[in-house]
């Protein structure tokens, strides 16, 4: 089907986008890559009155790393971020996540920030962002504020953004050397939607894990942190038994929904297996024994 009618606005900067959102009111939405929003409009599942296109705003296009982490602007396309040398160095878990998300032509158009703002609970990029940790920068008519990746995702397609705010960019926190990441999903083909996924990070110091992050996707209404699994990892030496225990803890207590791609019980099992394998890879990359 064709999209319902709407009024198109093009913002030349972040400040202009925020002003437009303020002016146009509740029925205005940001248009980034359009790779989630336009299918929803064509299916008549969404019919916003106004779209504010941010992809022509030069101040939103940047990608760059510094000591604090990797900054990704709201207009940066997924494929550009995925192949960017600084992403591969500073946030390889994000690069892995992007390479699993949809087909290359979709990634040419879609933005990383758009995926995070869309907040689909089974999507790759929100889970990777939460696993590595970071900050969302939001801008509204009243100014800018920062929201932690821990607090950003509130429910199915629901974030901490207020009406009239847009995300201008995200910063993915740097982890010290000695860190390894693991990103694994199970899907029908590499690029199709994950049935379940695990995004993990571990830092190993002198043979002991001193920092760990375990996040699951596709099993709850948000990308789900698993503190019980992290508690088992921290203070332990990397090893098969520890990873199996942590994976068990990650899957314990989750109650994923069933759909045509898999039952809740199947997703729960996937969560355990994917977590164990992702942790094994992460520890290898961190340089710890496994």
């Amino acid at each position: 089907m064709k999209s319902p009618p709407f009024e198109y606005h093009r913002a030349g900067s972040a400040t202009e986008a925020a002003a437009l959102l303020g002016e146009l009111g509740f029925d205005a939405r940001i248009l980034a890559g359009g790779q989630s929003l336009i299918p929803l409009m064509n299916l008549r599942l969404a019919a916003p009155g106004f779209l504010v296109d941010i992809t022509h705003a030069p101040d939103l296009a940047g990608i760059g790393a510094n000591g604090a982490g990797l900054h990704v602007g709201a207009a940066a396309r997924q494929r550009t971020v995925e192949l960017h040398a600084e992403t591969l160095a500073a946030a390889p878990v994000l690069a892995d996540a992007i390479s699993n998300a949809g087909q290359v032509p979709v990634r040419h158009q879609g933005t990383v920030v758009g995926s995070i703002a869309h907040a689909d609970p089974s999507a790759e990029m929100p889970a990777a962002f939460k696993a590595q940790g970071g900050t969302v920068t939001a801008q509204g008519a009243g100014g800018t504020r920062e929201i932690s990746s821990e607090d950003f995702f509130e429910g199915y397609f629901t974030t901490a953004l207020e009406e009239g705010e847009l995300v201008t960019g995200v910063t993915v926190d740097a982890w010290p050397s000695g860190t390894g990441h693991g990103f694994l999903e199970f899907s029908v083909t590499k690029e199709s939607w994950p049935i379940a996924l695990a995004a993990v990070m571990v830092h190993v110091d002198a043979g002991t894990i001193d920092r760990a992050s375990v996040v699951l996707g596709g099993v709850a209404e948000v990308p789900l942190r698993r503190p019980e699994a992290e508690a088992i990892l921290v203070g332990s030496a990397p090893g098969a038994e520890v990873f199996a225990g942590a994976a068990e803890a990650a899957a314990a207590g989750i109650e994923p929904l069933s759909d045509s791609f898999g039952s809740g019980a199947y997703r729960k099992k996937l969560a355990r297996v994917l977590t164990r394998r992702a942790l094994t890879t992460a520890a290898e990359r961190a340089g710890g024994a496994t």
Binding site: E7, Y8, N42, R79
Partner: protein
């Protein structure tokens, strides 16, 4: 509803038009410009029949509004054979029976062209993974992979 004046380059020719905001790039190309080589299958981004190249990069023209493409350089399947002679990719698709009904073919050709431009020495595995973005309900893909590899070899030889 809003209407917008856009200027795009289509297959090398600058084109100006006035488009409704909700006009998809695919419909703009087919109905307003008359380039009906771009096919529309699902209209939700899933099948790749509507693939065009923008700045040399494959995108789904059914989930992009024409107004978003303002200023862009667009290449459609019509650019492959402007005269009577077919492009080496089209020849290879014909030789290898890389098409049956032909519905997916414009998208397949443009995605394949991008793959070969990115890597003229692509392997069968890379060709297979590359075209996994586009659906074909007829060929079973194997003949398309054969055609892409053969065309790549021919285009390498032509480049000399």
């Amino acid at each position: 509803m809003s209407t917008h004046d856009i200027t795009v380059t289509i297959n090398g020719a600058a084109t100006s038009a006035s488009v409704e905001s909700r006009r998809s790039l695919a419909d703009f190309l087919r109905h307003d410009v008359g380039l009906v080589g771009t096919h529309i299958g699902c209209e939700q981004g899933a099948c790749g029949a509507c693939t065009v190249l923008i700045g040399g990069r494959s995108v789904r023209s059914c989930i992009m509004f024409a107004v978003q493409a303002d200023g862009a350089e667009i290449q459609t399947v019509e650019s492959l054979a402007p005269g009577a002679e077919m492009h080496p990719l089209q020849e290879a698709f014909r030789r290898h029976q890389g098409l049956q009904c032909g519905f997916c073919t414009p998208g397949m050709l443009l995605r394949s062209l991008e793959l070969i431009n990115d890597n003229p020495n692509l392997t069968a595995e890379e060709a297979r993974e590359g075209i996994s973005s586009n659906m074909c309900r007829c060929t079973g893909y194997q003949y398309i992979v054969d055609a892409v590899l053969d065309a790549a070899a021919e285009m390498r030889a032509e480049e000399g």
